[in-house]
């Protein structure tokens, strides 16, 4: 159950990154133009020209990097002054904003299949290679999680007739966010058919997307309370001062 506070001073949360997980682009299919030219034989059936090799498949394109979550905003400055305070201590939460959620990388593009070797006449010796499959595209780099917003220092001054500290306080930074997930690589293209009916090598497997960084933790504020005999008997002031250069 969430705790209810009398006063809540919290920096706004960072915006979450859009998360379209945009995939990479697949390698274009070679089509018939990727197949090797057929071999030829002369009128006596003798090998005239061996078949041509298949072309290698096209590479898949990597997915674009994901966006990062925004940083949480620091707790802001507030001063509350009460000339005559009476009652239970005021409960106060001073918190930085939470970091925004990161986007995740999309899947890399698939590699295109290699072309087939041309048809080889029986009289032609040697195995003609099909084209190697196209390498897959790398996955998208994950976005960074947003940093936690910083908390602020709290200073309480109260009059001489108050004998218990008039404020209970929770002072905390926001929550830093985790990075998104890196995108998976695409699928490599298949190797084309060699002239002996076997397959050429498939394309290389690309790597996963780069890793994002988690958001950084933020500053936790100090708490100072001080009875000031020069103030009115039941005077209370609460000052919330954001950190500078921390």
């Amino acid at each position: 159950m969430a705790i209810q506070y009398d006063l809540l001073v919290k920096g706004p949360d960072g915006q979450d990154a859009p998360n379209p997980m945009t995939p990479g682009v697949n390698g274009l299919p070679l089509g018939p133009a990727g197949n090797g030219a057929p071999g030829t034989k002369d009128m006596f059936g003798k090998c005239e020209k061996p078949a041509g090799p298949g072309l290698p498949g096209n590479k898949g394109v990597g997915a674009p990097p994901a966006e990062s979550g925004e940083n949480g905003t620091d707790a802001y400055a507030v001063k509350i002054t009460c000339g005559a305070f009476n009652g239970n201590p005021v409960s106060l939460l001073v918190s930085g904003g939470n970091g925004g959620m990161a986007g995740s990388g999309g899947v890399g593009g698939n590699g295109g299949d290699g072309g087939n070797a041309g048809t080889q006449p029986k009289s032609c010796t040697g195995v003609i290679s099909g084209g190697m499959g196209g390498p897959s595209g790398v996955g998208g780099t994950a976005g960074n999680g947003g940093d936690a917003g910083k908390s602020a220092d709290v200073s309480i001054i109260y009059g001489p007739q108050i004998t218990t500290i008039p404020v209970s306080a929770k002072i905390t930074a926001g929550t830093p966010r985790n990075p998104g997930n890196p995108g998976d690589p695409g699928t490599p293209g298949k190797g084309g058919l060699n002239s002996d009916g076997t397959h050429a090598l498939p394309g290389g497997q690309a790597g996963s997307g780069g890793q994002g960084n988690g958001g950084k933790q933020g500053y936790t504020g100090a708490f100072n309370s001080n009875m000031d005999p020069s103030q009115a008997p039941t005077y209370v002031s609460i000052s919330i001062v954001p950190p500078t250069n921390r």
């Binding site: 705790i3 506070y5 239970n88 201590p89 409960s91 040697g126 190697m132 390498p135 790398v138 996955g139 999680g145 936690a148 908390s151 220092d153 001489p160 004998t163 218990t164 500290i165 209970s168 306080a169 929770k170 002072i171 905390t172 930074a173 929550t175 830093p176 985790n178 990075p179 890196p182 998976d184 690589p185 090598l201 498939p202 394309g203 290389g204 497997q205 690309a206 790597g207 996963s208 997307g209 890793q211 960084n213 988690g214 958001g215 950084k216 933790q217 933020g218 500053y219 936790t220 504020g221 100090a222 708490f223 100072n224 309370s225 001080n226 009875m227 005999p229």
Partner: protein
């Protein structure tokens, strides 16, 4: 929230101990090394033998695991009054360092190149040696623990009671390195490469201190 409570403990660092290891770093492109030189005949006999295929390249190293985030420290709590009454719960603990992420697996070595083509009188060349697999990625180092804060409680008269806590956080643990990659197929095919290292945990935090009327408790 109970009355008269102050809590300004530090936050925990980002924890990657439960995260999966980084993904595969990708094959060497192209996946196979170059072909050896073709043989040629010298009349009715073999003139120049076919060359051995080129040696495969070493696979890509595994991706290093992310380091655990550093925690933040508890801050000062300073309460001062001529007359103090009531019960106080004062907490200024350090946050825990985050755990590191496992290192990623190393990439496969490149396949040894095909042997050079034979000729009528020469045999084809031998396949080249496969490339060694890439070394596994190092695990992520653990994040540093936060320090406990310092608590001052100063009063003249009255009979207040309080519980004060200012413990340091726990340092994050380092993660194990990833497994080495497989050797590329070839002649010969190398074995599995070495794993990545565990770089160890983060730094320990320091306990804070509690002072009542200037005397360390």
């Amino acid at each position: 929230m109970p009355d008269n409570t102050v809590d300004n403990s530090g936050g925990n660092g980002a924890d990657y101990s439960g995260y999966p290891a980084p993904g595969y770093p990708g094959d060497i492109d192209p996946t196979q090394a170059g072909q050896g030189t073709a043989a040629s005949d010298n009349g009715k006999s073999c003139g120049t033998k076919a060359g051995t295929g080129k040696a495969g390249l070493t696979g890509n190293p595994g991706t290093g695991g992310r380091s655990g985030g550093n925690a933040t420290s508890g801050n000062i709590i300073n309460c001062k009054s001529q007359v103090m009454e009531g019960n106080y719960i004062l907490t200024s603990n350090g946050g825990d360092g985050g755990g590191g992420q496992l290192g990623g697996i190393g990439g496969n070595g490149q396949i040894g190149g095909p042997g050079g083509a034979g000729s009528k009188h020469c045999d084809g060349g031998a396949q080249g040696p496969g490339g060694p697999g890439g070394v596994g990625g190092d695990g992520g180092i653990g994040g540093d623990a936060g320090n406990g804060g310092t608590i001052y409680f100063t009063y003249g008269d009255g009979s207040p009671t309080f519980q004060a806590t200012c413990k340091p956080g726990k340092p994050g643990l380092g993660a194990n390195g990833g497994a080495g990659g497989k050797g590329g197929q070839g002649n010969p095919t190398p074995g599995i490469s070495g794993s990545g290292k565990n770089p160890g945990g983060g730094k320990a935090g320091i306990a804070g201190a509690v002072y009542v009327n200037g005397i360390k408790q």
